[in-house]
């Protein structure tokens, strides 16, 4: 019996049925917390699948805890992970950049000249920085005013600039409006830099200029700041004139509608969008991010292409490493089901994120999500943040749990 494979609009697939040697093929673009997870779990859920992972870097450098590297409390080596285990899972690892996608032909063109055919494509490209989105902040500016919003060289550059800053210097950091990768990240960074300054350069200050009035884990951070860094850290909300309209990299100056803030060390958390391949493949909308189906993570714009991780518009789920990993597993299960001609299960997803206000002072946010009217939505009564009045022992415990989370998740994805 011969069955032909068709894909209908909306992504419903009649099963791919292996004839002789042919296997269903899935290509995954991006080998980070989302893509490497998806690739490995595709193989776990269906060992008959032919899985290719397209990832240009030989080493993955993790962002979570990179703020500790910035603060001098951790080495970058602790953030580096290789792809040996990914290859050992029988995944075809292609070290190249995805350049374009032909959704009709179902092929991905790679920078090494390869044309990769797929039955289903999972795109997990992370973020790209919108150069010039903040006037004055072009690519060249990043060597004067680091973003360090992609870990690696930028992380070390920022650490170096802080080390070289004399005592009494001023660090200024700008924070964009939502959405961006890692909602509490800027505030953890501000906290750990404040901790570094208080410890090593006590005459110094850090000023945070925010395009927002409200942020993730806000009361927890602000209570910690009041207690730990009353003379070191100042946060300026949007309403108080914190919105940065322009930067001048030559002088490290941040301009707002109300004045100018020159910095000895200037950090820009920049405007960002889904990684470039998303727009090229047609799965990003005008916002620069990718709308998806909450059950399968299939693109709402292009059938047959799924988007996970930071690049996706995932409703109430934040752009976090934990979320990318959770989505990678759910998407892999859904794609495996679709390729077998089965209806994917309605998922539940969890996110848990730890933040540090100081090296031994941690707290968390958690969420449980389900699809409601086509959008991943918080389950009422579940989730939330650590209590405001938790004792120091609990802050220390959560800092340790965060450490253990990092070890566990990186072992699952890369180990």
């Amino acid at each position: 019996m011969i069955r032909r494979r068709h894909v209908l609009a909306g992504g419903l697939a009649i099963p791919f049925v292996a004839k002789g040697q042919t296997k269903a093929r899935v290509v995954v673009v991006g080998g980070g917390f989302g893509g490497a997870t998806a690739a490995r779990f595709l193989r776990q859920y269906d060992p008959t699948l032919d899985v290719t992972l397209l990832e240009p870097n030989h080493t993955f450098i993790a962002c979570p805890f990179s703020n500790m590297v910035v603060a001098g409390e951790r080495e970058l080596a602790a953030q580096r992970f290789g792809y040996d285990a990914v290859r050992s899972d029988g995944i075809n690892l292609v070290r190249a950049i995805a350049m374009s996608v032909d959704p009709a032909a179902r092929t991905v063109s790679a920078s090494n000249g390869a044309s990769l055919s797929y039955d289903r494509l999972i795109v997990s490209p992370g973020i790209d920085i919108v150069w010039g989105g903040l006037p004055g902040y072009d690519e060249a500016a990043a060597s004067k005013m680091p973003h360090a919003w992609k870990a690696g060289e930028q992380t070390l550059l920022l650490r170096q600039q802080l080390r070289e800053m004399p005592d009494g210097g001023v660090v200024v950091m700008s924070v964009p409006p939502n959405p961006y990768r890692c909602p509490p990240g800027p505030y953890e960074r501000a906290s750990l830099i404040a901790w570094y300054l208080k410890t090593h350069k006590p005459k110094s200050k850090i000023l945070v200029l925010d395009a927002k009035d409200v942020f993730s884990k806000q009361k927890l951070f602000q209570n910690a700041w009041k207690r730990l860094y009353p003379d070191t850290l100042e946060w300026v909300s949007l309403s108080d004139g914190g919105n940065v309209t322009r930067v001048d990299p030559a002088t490290r100056t941040f301009e707002t509608d109300f004045g100018s803030h020159p910095a000895d060390v200037g950090i820009v958390v920049p405007p960002q969008r889904a990684g470039a391949i998303a727009a090229t493949a047609g799965v990003a909308d005008r916002s620069g991010w990718c709308p998806i189906d909450p059950v399968t993570f299939e693109s709402r714009l292009v059938p047959g292409i799924h988007v996970i991780g930071d690049a996706a518009i995932a409703g109430a789920m934040p752009k976090s490493a934990f979320a990318a990993n959770a989505q990678g597993k759910v998407c892999a299960a859904a794609v495996a089901a679709l390729l077998r001609g089965e209806k994917p299960q309605e998922p539940r997803l969890i996110n848990t994120c730890y933040s540090l206000a100081a090296p031994d002072y941690g707290f968390s946010v958690a969420g449980v999500y389900r699809p409601v009217n086509g959008v991943l939505t918080d389950i009422e009564g579940a989730g939330g943040t650590s209590p405001l009045d938790a004792p120091d022992s609990q802050r220390m415990q959560e800092a340790q749990y965060g450490d253990r989370w990092f070890a566990t998740i990186t072992a699952e994805v890369f180990g």
Binding site: V330, Q345, P347, S364, A382, G383, Y401
Partner: protein, 83 residues
């Protein structure tokens, strides 16, 4: 007969797709011990205790509140069957 049926069920569960929510657990707990292979009844009771607050926790209470007892039972049964 009952032992064989029980083993059969475990094998089915081990091979089955994870029930809703279960795949997210390994993000913090990993895919080996202590949750893989843990006694299903004990895990269900623990999750229900986290959910009610009878057992204090940092994050587990907030997470367990996202599921009803049946869902927590299904998650526990699935993890119990993983090796």
């Amino acid at each position: 007969m009952r032992v064989e049926a029980g083993l059969g069920l475990v094998m089915l569960l081990a091979a089955a797709a994870p029930p809703p929510g279960a795949s997210s657990c390994s993000g913090c707990h990993g895919s080996a011990s202590p949750i893989a292979g843990h006694d299903a009844k004990q895990m269900t009771e623990a999750l229900i205790a986290f959910r009610s607050g009878a057992q204090p926790s940092t994050v587990m209470g907030r997470i367990a509140k996202g599921f009803d007892a049946d869902e927590l039972g299904a998650i526990s049964a699935w993890w119990a069957a993983q090796k």
